[in-house]
């Protein structure tokens, strides 16, 4: 079971087959990251864009002496579409966002006809390494879905449970967060949480234990939960934190990074092939972990 982000790197290194990673709009920062991933033996980079510019970048990088491929696409606006097409056609195994703008990249990969979306929705999971603890936690959805209803949250939770399984957590404990731990019909997040919790009780999430609604103190502390009269295996020991909406999830993920200085790597779920997005609050070091994580999917 992965208890640290380093364990994810280690697990990816043990994967025998290197994955072909397509990336467009490569600039120096991306080149540094994919070069390191190639040195680690995780990937074979497939650089999509202006051939001469790509070659010039490669010559200045460690990739020069490593296996790689350049796909020449003259039209700068078309390089992302070409990279997505390579993945769709099976000529690459995963896609990484280069310097393309967030809006264009997300809209392209999530396009129902020409993108890489497999499920009814995609979701983003932030994987955090707890400080002073041999444990990873998954916080979701921290980037994609704005105000998911219970149907969407069901799928977001399924994605998180799937990732937890890949990380070796066989019976993950999920805390469905809300403002309070009691069901209040005026607070929609508490209703969604109660429904998901009941679905889990009926076995609809397999081995996962799902508890909600939980406020964050109950989710984080078994003692705090007990003082509020809550008894659950999830409190104080959750593997998955399902947030009510993006207003909470986006801020929570950034808070753990900036205020908690917790190491984080993210992954997009619900896609036909792994997609690595480029968020500014993921450190360069952890973008390497994201490549490793994607290669395990």
């Amino acid at each position: 079971m992965a208890g640290a982000l380093a364990d994810i790197m280690e697990a990816a290194r043990k994967e025998t087959a290197k994955r072909r990673l397509a990336i467009s709009s490569v600039k120096r920062p991306e080149m540094e990251i994919i070069s390191r991933a190639a040195i680690e033996g995780l990937i074979v980079p497939v650089l999509v864009g202006d051939g001469k510019a790509m070659e010039a970048l490669v010559k200045k990088s460690a990739l020069q002496s490593l296996e790689h491929e350049i796909v020449d696409v003259k039209d700068s606006g078309g390089s992302l579409r070409a990279a997505v097409a390579l993945v769709r056609e099976g000529r690459a195994d995963m896609l990484m966002q280069g310097a393309d703008g967030q809006k264009m990249f997300m809209n392209t990969v999530l396009d129902a006809k020409t993108g890489l979306l497999k499920d009814k929705l995609a979701s983003y999971i932030s994987v955090f390494q707890l400080p002073k603890s041999d444990k990873l936690i998954l916080v979701t959805d921290t980037f994609v879905n704005n105000y998911p209803g219970v149907t969407e949250k069901q799928l977001i939770l399924v994605h998180a449970i799937k990732l937890a399984g890949l990380l070796g957590i066989e019976a993950p404990k999920a805390a469905v967060l809300a403002a309070i731990e009691q069901v209040n019909p005026n607070i929609p997040s508490t209703l969604d949480a109660a429904i998901l919790s009941k679905m889990a009780e009926r076995g609809q999430f397999g081995n996962a234990v799902v508890e909600g609604p939980l406020d964050i103190d109950c989710a984080l502390s078994h003692v705090a939960a007990a003082r509020k009269g809550l008894k659950s295996d999830v409190t104080g020991n959750a593997d998955i934190y399902l947030v009510p909406d993006i207003e909470s999830g986006y801020l929570l993920a950034q808070s753990l990074v900036f205020l908690g200085k917790m190491e984080m790597a993210g992954v997009l779920m619900g896609m036909t092939k792994p997609v690595i997005i480029n968020l500014p609050f993921v450190s360069r070091e952890n973008r390497l972990v994201e490549i490793a994580l994607a290669s395990l999917l």
Partner: protein, 306 residues
């Protein structure tokens, strides 16, 4: 300017004791906090709740409660109404929630504000002390408004700025948080940010500044920055007041003290004084700090009135 919770404790000791109603001190952590706050000279408690439980807990924590005013009441809403009623009638300076769900307390406050025709929007400010920062930062509203609209956010922000002015911050910096990203459409919370910024520039909240950012990424990295090294994160960039878009967001954020190296202290702002809002899961050390903050706010309010 009150820069830390140590400042709060020191001033509470100097300005106390103040009469404070405790709503249902029916848990040993709450009773212990009341005892220690009384011993520190912060408060003179009025205990409202179940007689047997209060007696039992008083004995358990070694606190002779027979010397204090006690109001025996078992009904949760009635306990809350009694305490808030005493605050609004001027019989005491502060109220603190005990082992009672917060919804009862907010209901009492909202009813009392309506009766007083104050026009006040009740909101909760949850202060954080972050070690080494040298000032208090706070999330609001962390307790009352589930999905506040623009007008409600104006009131929430006005309450928070008032509280910061009261604590000696001449021009608090504010971030209006929004979940809006570069993709995913436009958000009401982002529209509200723009409107609130205009209102602040027009002086609607008094002396304050709403910063040009709606996320921690923009605050800590700037509009086009990228995190390189965790050691580069400068916590001093965090503004004083963090206005959250929704109750879910506020409540989840403010109680991250169970996770992060911060200390929390929550106060509800009412037209008649402070109401301390410890979580029912809080421990006595944290509750004492909240009571001390209540004393300081009550003292500064009385000073304003004088």
């Amino acid at each position: 300017m009150i820069r830390s919770l140590d400042d709060v404790s020191r001033i509470a000791g100097e300005k106390g004791p103040k009469k404070l109603a405790v709503l249902a001190p029916e848990d040993d952590e709450f009773m212990l906090a009341v005892k220690r706050s009384w011993e520190a000279g912060y408060i003179e408690p009025v205990l409202i709740g179940n007689a047997e439980k209060m007696d039992e807990l008083g004995q358990k924590v070694g606190f002779d409660i027979s010397r204090f005013e006690r109001i025996i009441e078992n009904d949760r809403q009635r306990i809350s109404d009694l305490g808030i009623g005493m605050l609004f009638s001027g019989k005491l300076s502060i109220v603190s929630k005990g082992q009672i769900p917060t919804a009862y307390v907010y209901r009492s406050i909202i009813r009392a504000e309506a009766k007083a025709a104050s026009g006040m929007t009740v909101s909760v400010v949850s202060f954080w002390e972050i070690p080494g920062l040298g000032y208090l930062t706070a999330f609001t509203d962390t307790g009352v408004s589930i999905m506040p609209d623009y007008r409600t956010k104006v009131d929430i922000l006005r309450n928070a700025v008032f509280l910061y002015h009261l604590l000696g911050y001449k021009k608090p910096r504010i971030v209006v948080i929004s979940g809006q990203r570069k993709f995913g459409g436009t958000f009401d919370s982002h529209r509200d940010y723009k409107l609130l910024r205009k209102a602040a520039d027009a002086g609607e909240f008094g002396e304050c500044e709403i910063v040009d950012a709606t996320s921690f990424t923009e605050i800590f990295l700037g509009p086009k920055g990228r995190l390189r090294d965790y050691r580069d994160i400068d916590l001093a960039k965090i503004p004083h007041i963090i206005l959250v878009p929704r109750l879910d967001t506020g409540n989840i954020m403010c109680k991250l003290d169970f996770f992060l190296d911060v200390t929390r202290c929550s106060i509800a702002v009412t037209s008649r004084g402070a109401v301390c809002i410890p979580s029912r899961a809080d421990f006595s050390d944290s509750i004492i700090t909240e009571l001390a903050m209540g004393v300081v706010v009550a003292d500064r309010l009385e000073e304003e009135v004088r």
